[in-house]
Amino acid sequence: MSEFGVQTALVRLLTDARLRRATLNGDLRPLTESGISTDDALTVLKIDRDRLEIFADMITAQRIDDLQNMLPITTRLLGTRLLEIEAAFREEVVPRFSRRREYALAFGEYLREEFERKEPVPAFLMDVLNYEMNSLELFERRNDPVPVSDAAKIEKIDDQQSRFKIRIVRPSTNCTLRLKYDVLTAISQMRETDTFVTPEQQPGFLLLHVNSSGSIEHDRINVATARFLDLCDGRNDLGTIISRLAAEYGVNDELAMRDFEAKCISLCKSLAARQIVYVVSDRLCTKSH
């Protein structure tokens, strides 16, 4: 008997309902086929079954509590269906997670797939789920390295001639969300009044990004900014981005184009100042998002 083997068997029994059912009914194969020795499997079988089940329920309750903390609005909108969906999730996905946030991320992913596969879901619920999942995913990436070296960053982007030698790189620590509803107002209303009313449709874009203290901040952005950020993929140079945007917005006369370019450059500078994008020399650009 090895302590590690016994501990592994115990943890698997506590977190995998199907495995627990099979094992407690005398079928040791699922455990032994996963590398647990028969001795270790027989040892954990000596634990009081009723109490093992009670403790497994406590672990489930803790995980549901974690879901409610990490996906607070989504789980609230699911209401009583949360327990049913979470139970199905546990049956279909063997939940092994080294950190508690991973459970929420996996559950959110499962929800997305379920919503797309099985049922028509209110668009507002999808918006809220996307907002909360993107926030969690960004937080996971908060310590990702900056995708460009200091040496590659450049300040000067006004020179018309050099625009085609400048690339705009967007780090993995921000993302743009297209929403059908004003999720932010609805959430803040819920926090203040503890009541929840589905808001009127109000399509818009949100920029989520990790700030210097490691928190996720959000900004409402317009469609042009969202499109600009879409094009900042590390491959497009600034000149190309401006040209493509101008084409999309039907900017063709010279005067309008000059004004449009100035606005794009101003936007680029303000995004770079907040480290939402990095402006790098084409020659020195090594990595991209």
């Binding site: 302590e3 403790f55 928190s215």
Partner: protein
């Protein structure tokens, strides 16, 4: 890591401890009095009652792997109260190396808050790749004593502060035990040369759930190693008394405090834990006052020397502006 084969207290087996003696680390650590576990849900109320709360226990995991703003909150609290740091996820009983990232983060928060001491539970909370999120009992075996003591010693060396190990509530027993729970705790404390955080609510819960006498159990513990005590109220879930921290401290737990208080020369603080079903702060303050009165009557250093409790901090606390975070969690 420095290891000395010196042992002042013979353990269960009479073998000398493998690990360095750290008794000197408690020298200079003051008696803190009666404190509260800091919970954000009642953070403002706790700050408003700072005169009656002698110290705070911060849950390290509330600050680890969270935005920097949370760390700043911990640092701010440490300017207002003496602080001790409590972990829940070292999983000292897991038969695997410690999680180095967690250890580094824990040490950073301990330094940031200038924690007087740090603690975690004598249990299993995870194995590599699978986190349980619950304090899970260990096998009461010599091998587990060795595993836990090794990990505790590594943590104590890394954190450079007194390390306390806490007895847990457990709802099932692991098979193949070769010793009792009290013998197991004693063996770990002595082998690791660490201190004990004695949770009296857990003792009451285990006595009820496992069918033993709480006082006899306490008699078998190394009470001279107790540096901190936890008090809490439990609740029944089916047939089991659960460590829910959801109710006022029951008389039985205060009675246990009276029972052990005269025998704890190393005691530095008694802490009230409340995690849910929060009452008005006045009720928690009243429980702290009951605690202080028990210590004044039953705890030897007060009884004989008439020492005064340390004055509560009286500085104004200025909460930092809330960050416009996407959600409270992130």
């Amino acid at each position: 890591m420095v290891k000395l084969s010196i042992r002042l207290d013979p353990g269960r087996t009479g073998e000398p401890s493998t690990y360095v003696d750290r008794k000197h680390m408690l020298q200079g650590v003051p008696f803190l009095g009666a404190g509260l576990g800091f919970r954000r849900e009642i953070g403002k109320e706790i700050l408003s009652a700072s005169q009656q709360v002698n110290f705070l226990e911060l849950i390290a995991d509330q600050y680890i792997d969270r935005p920097g703003i949370r760390e700043q909150e911990a640092a701010d609290l440490a300017t207002r109260f003496p602080v001790v740091l409590h972990g829940v996820d070292f999983s000292v009983g897991t038969d695997c190396p410690l999680d180095e990232t967690y250890l580094r983060s824990f040490c950073r928060i301990a330094d940031l808050t200038k924690a007087h001491w740090v603690s975690d539970h004598l249990c299993l909370t995870r194995i590599p790749g699978n986190s349980l999120g619950q304090l899970t009992p260990l096998s009461f075996t010599d091998e587990t004593v060795r595993i836990a003591a090794k990990h505790i010693s590594e943590i104590a060396d890394a954190v450079g502060r007194p390390f306390l190990i806490e007895n847990i509530s457990y709802y099932f027993t692991m098979p193949a035990a070769v010793m009792t729970e009290a013998e197991f705790i004693t063996a770990v404390v002595r082998e690791a040369n660490c201190w004990l955080l004695l949770d009296l609510a857990n003792v009451m819960n285990n006595a009820a759930n496992q069918g033993y006498d709480a006082r006899l159990f306490l008699d078998q513990l190394p009470l001279d190693r107790v540096v901190q005590i936890h008090l809490a109220g439990s609740s029944y879930s089916g047939p089991l008394l659960i460590d829910s921290h959801s109710h006022p401290v029951p008389d039985q737990v205060f009675e246990l405090l009276k029972y052990v208080a005269p025998r704890m020369p190393s005691l530095r603080g008694v802490l009230l834990e409340r995690d849910q079903n929060f009452p008005p702060i006045e009720e928690l303050v009243a429980e702290l006052e009951v605690t202080r009165q028990i210590l004044k009557t039953h705890w030897a250093p007060y009884y004989y020397a008439g020492a005064e409790f340390p004055p509560a901090p009286d500085k104004e606390f200025t909460p930092r502006a809330k960050n416009a975070a996407a959600s409270d969690y992130v």
